[in-house]
């Protein structure tokens, strides 16, 4: 075989030699294709595996950790939550609508494959600045794609986050997280066991779409990427809705041994992984695979990423039952092979064996690389920058209004108005708050859900950025009154073959690990997306965190906005925030620089425990953390229904107090009559809590020791905040 063949499929010469040695012969074309996708970064995690092994993945709630289609946590009463986050960056860069839509479809399949009914979708999105028309086009297309798929299938899109930065121009990040509910008894897995059991393909027919999606995801984006449009799949949410209902019915009926969705590398990856998990072999007759096109080669059948297909292994004799359920949902179910005990993936066509590969060679024995890591030179330079000389360039009022109109800070209602965020009638805290809260019907509980990552901080200090992504998610969850119970991650980085990028990756993961240990939030699964580079640049490191929190009593949900006038307002945490890495420094000074002080995770945990206890005791009328844009922006966000007046300690520096950021800073409102108890609890827990003012009036006023800092009509701030994104997108 010509070296060009395997090289074009993404295999190195060393990898090809290893395959030949393992098989004891030259592989044929189809076999090379199968190895190429299974050993691609996307499927094998060959670069990231050694780093990911350090994540904490156990805990009393963990029913299913990493390695399955989604993680599962116990939420009590025999109920569990399944959740997972995944990237669809490269397809979305080429074809934003379908790229994003199939990202949602894929992550939903991961959830119902586990036997869980999906109840929510969240999306973490990163784009280049909206001043560039191409970024606007991608942003609009991605939002429409997410809505188009989620709205139709009837799963609410309840939250997420969106940032805009030049680091993402041309290489947007589209990370979708899905969450599902299930009973412990209904947990399904993707393992093929029991020699002789049938292997069935259910759902859509197989076509030529999406061939090479996995290998496409494992290279950088270039000018030629446009020509890879055929690697982008096309989604059919209606088909997936039917498939979801049918699969959940099959799982609940107890007729399945294993079930696995077909995502990246389609039939290849699903069959190899199922056999691998079950320690079995699988034999499939490719002539039996239902197709939507004629003349497909075995290679095309095995590599197709046609959407809305599942591979299921029913118990022998249950084939008719599977067919009956699928037919009722107007879908096909076809037996294409059987489970064997020889540990081989054997494919036949027209009676001939066209591929025969040990399953272990594709899965467990895939290569693992220990890549070199080197701290990039920019890190020390940025760290050395002195920001102490920064002064406000505009008045505080003008500064705030400009920040509120900044698309990263502005309200995201233009986005979530296009998503059905209420179907299922369980959405108790709507998008726009710190975290979405979903009622667990019939259990009196709630699930708080959020996605977070400040990529600018992750660029300046990847360790800090990784830890802060988890910490910020925990802050957001706690502000709703829920306790963080676990995370999923989607780790988006540049080309890991560059030692600087690999250093960013290892550092960020170490930060995630430290924070997960500090907050007792095990990592239950996730996804790595490398090669997020264009010829111009690598993206900022983006260790995106999707966190789940549990609210034992949904009645104790804590609002993130001031709900009425006359509430006492407290500030918790340091008065002056950090300018290093702040939205202010970036927007007004063009500065992404400065030293980030070590993150004291234990202290932050204690602060979060204080908030949880205060809410548990009914002392809180509202809670919100101070992040992008600082205190002034956070006050605007909370002033949805009333004005507010806040007094800072005399002598507070205006710039860091109003616009500085950093961990552990919160605005709290006390319930009527609870002010003293709240202060007493803070004193007992040694928390820096200050009564700072009260809600009321129609202005936002901040003073320091009584001296004016700024004052603006509430309506003006809210209009800037609410309308900015829509105005930009409609312009």
């Amino acid at each position: 075989m010509e070296a060009q063949v395997w090289r074009e499929m993404g295999l190195s010469d060393e990898e090809y030699a290893a395959i030949t040695a393992r098989l004891g012969r030259e592989p044929n074309y189809l076999e090379v294709g199968i190895f190429a996708v299974m050993w691609s970064e996307h499927c094998s995690y060959k670069t990231s595996k050694p780093v990911l092994r350090r994540f904490p993945t156990t805990g009393p709630r963990v029913l299913q950790g990493p390695g399955e289609n989604a993680g599962i946590l116990d939420i009590g009463d025999g109920l569990a939550v399944a959740f997972k986050m995944e990237s669809h960056n490269h397809p979305s860069a080429i074809e934003p609508y379908q790229g994003a839509a199939t990202g949602v479809g894929g992550i939903l399949r991961d959830i119902f494959t586990m036997g869980a009914r999906p109840v929510a979708v969240l999306d973490a999105l990163r784009f280049g600045p909206l001043t560039e028309e191409s970024n606007k086009l991608l942003f609009r297309g991605v939002v429409q794609g997410i809505g188009g798929y989620g709205n139709s299938i009837g799963i609410p899109t309840v939250g997420g986050d969106v940032y805009f930065d030049a680091a993402f121009s041309g290489n947007p990040l589209v990370n979708a997280m899905a969450v599902g509910l299930l009973r412990h008894a209904d947990i399904a897995t993707g393992a093929a066991r029991g020699a002789g059991n049938p292997v069935m393909i259910v759902g859509a027919r197989t076509g030529r779409d999406g061939i090479h999606g996995a290998t496409f995801a494992s290279v950088e984006l270039t000018e030629e990427s446009e020509s890879r449009r055929s690697a982008v799949q096309v989604g059919d949410p209606f088909m997936e809705k039917l498939l979801m209902e049918a699969c959940l019915e099959l799982i609940q009926a107890g007729v399945l041994v294993g079930i696995q969705d077909m995502g990246a590398a389609g039939l290849t990856c699903s069959s190899a992984e199922m056999a691998g998990r079950g320690g079995s072999g699988i034999e499939m007759n490719l002539d039996l695979v239902p197709r939507r096109e004629t003349g497909m080669t075995p290679y095309e059948i095995m590599l197709s990423e046609s959407q809305e297909r599942m591979l299921v292994v029913p118990k022998t004799g249950c084939e008719a039952r599977v067919e009956e359920v699928l037919t009722r949902w107007d879908l096909e179910a076809t037996t294409i092979g059987r489970v064997t005990d020889d540990g081989l993936l054997r494919l036949t066509e027209q009676g001939r064996v066209v591929a025969e590969i040990p399953v272990a060679a594709l899965t467990d024995e895939a290569p693992v690389y220990d890549r070199p890591a080197a701290q990039p030179a920019y890190i020390a330079e940025l760290r050395a920058a002195d920001l102490s000389g920064l002064r406000l360039r505009l008045s505080p009022e003008e500064t705030l209004l400009a920040l509120l109109r900044n698309p990263t800070v502005a309200a995201k209602s233009w986005v979530y108005r296009q998503y059905d965020h209420q179907v299922g009638t369980n959405t108790a805290a709507l998008p726009g708050g710190d975290a979405a809260v979903l009622r667990v019907r019939g259990a009196g509980k709630g699930l708080a859900l959020t996605t977070d990552c400040n990529c600018r901080l992750a660029y300046m200090d990847p360790y800090y950025g990784g830890a802060w992504a988890v910490a910020e998610a925990a802050q957001n969850i706690v502000c709703t009154g829920a306790r963080p119970i676990g995370i999923t991650d989607c780790l988006n980085f540049g080309n890991p073959e560059h030692p600087e990028v690999f250093w960013q990756f290892t550092e960020a993961c170490a930060g995630v690990t430290a924070a997960c240990l500090a907050f007792d939030t095990p990592v239950t699964g996730g996804n790595v997306s490398f090669y997020n580079e264009t010829p111009e640049r690598a993206i900022y490191p983006a260790p995106m965190i999707g966190m789940v929190g549990l609210l034992e009593n949904i009645g104790k949900i804590c609002p993130n906005v001031f709900t009425s006038a006359g509430q006492d307002v407290f500030l918790l945490g340091e008065t002056e925030g950090l300018l290093a890495g702040s939205e202010y420094a970036s927007m007004f000074e063009g500065l992404v620089a400065g030293a980030l002080p070590p993150l004291d995770l234990a202290a932050l945990r204690a602060r979060l425990e204080f908030i949880l206890t205060a809410n548990e005791r009914g002392l809180l009328a509202a809670a919100h953390d101070i992040t992008e844009g600082g205190l002034a922006v956070a006050l605007t966000e909370m002033a949805a229904a009333t004005g507010v007046r806040v007094d800072l300690p005399a002598g507070s520096a205006v710039l860091p107090s109003l616009f500085g950021e950093g961990p552990g800073r919160f605005i709290l409102a006390a319930t009527a009559g609870a002010e003293r108890e709240l202060a007493a609890l803070a004193a007992e827990r040694e928390q820096p809590l200050r009564r700072a003012g009260e809600t009321g009036g129609e202005e936002l006023i901040v003073t320091a020791g009584g001296a004016p800092c700024f004052a603006l009509p509430r309506a003006r701030c809210r209009a800037a905040y609410e309308n900015a994104l829509g105005d930009i997108m409609l312009a």
Binding site: N151, M239, K241, D330, R417, Q418, V423, G424, T425
Partner: protein, 225 residues
């Protein structure tokens, strides 16, 4: 009151409707679209969603579902039919209600709370509301832009068959209060006989304080009598 909720392939608000009836103290049955009879039911609900993926045109394929001939028979014999969102689209497609639902004027899908004005409370669906009452219910659609020709509109208006209108928070049926470009801010209409009602807003999403208010309860209370 015996209630049946039709489940088409692609419906996605059928369970929400069932739960809303449950909140209001009433159990409803789910009817599979392949059934051919709705006999024995007093009220047939066509729920929201994307029946048949909304491919071709919203509601255009669902009207050919096996259950629809008997839903039409039920309506012609005076039985109650309530179409919500996609259900309203199916009702206009099958001719039980006049007009059509076009793409939203802004071309975007909209999910948001919306103020409605109760224009006619002398119906079996709305009698629990006060005349002119403002009720807040979520809208959630991409094709809710109600259209009807001038003659048809004149007929609807003169017969008092516009049941709900989209309004601003102050109750004005103006352009600012019209989210999707509907003719005369029309959000819901009723048949001449008063037994078939179609509406784009989602009252089943407005029956509990926890999830956004209780203004939709009036419709359930009206029907329960």
């Amino acid at each position: 009151m015996k209630i049946g909720i039709v489940r088409f392939p692609g419906s996605n608000c059928e369970t929400d409707c069932l739960e809303a009836w449950r909140v209001m103290g009433c159990e409803a049955d789910m009817l599979w679209h392949r059934e051919t009879s709705v006999r024995g039911y007093d009220l047939v609900v066509l729920p929201g969603g994307f029946s048949y993926g909304d491919y071709l045109r919203t509601g255009a394929i669902a009207r050919f579902s096996p259950i629809m001939p008997d839903v039409i028979r039920h309506a012609r014999e005076g039985g109650l039919v309530w179409g919500i969102c996609n259900g309203f689209q199916i009702l206009t497609e099958c001719g039980l209600l006049p007009g059509a639902l076009l793409r939203n004027a802004g071309l975007s899908f909209i999910c948001a709370p919306q103020c409605l004005r109760v224009e006619n409370n002398a119906t079996v669906f709305t009698r629990a509301y006060a005349p002119g009452q403002i009720a807040r219910m979520p809208i959630n659609h991409g094709e809710g832009n109600y259209y009807i020709d001038a003659a048809g509109l004149e007929e609807l208006e003169s017969e008092g068959r516009v049941v709900f209108r989209y309004v601003s928070a102050d109750g004005a049926a103006d352009a600012a209060g019209n989210p999707n470009g509907s003719v005369q801010n029309i959000a819901g209409i009723i048949s001449r006989e008063g037994n078939v009602l179609g509406m784009m807003p989602h009252p089943e999403r407005a029956v509990e304080q926890l999830i956004g208010g209780e203004d939709g309860r009036g419709m359930f209370r009206s029907l329960l009598g």
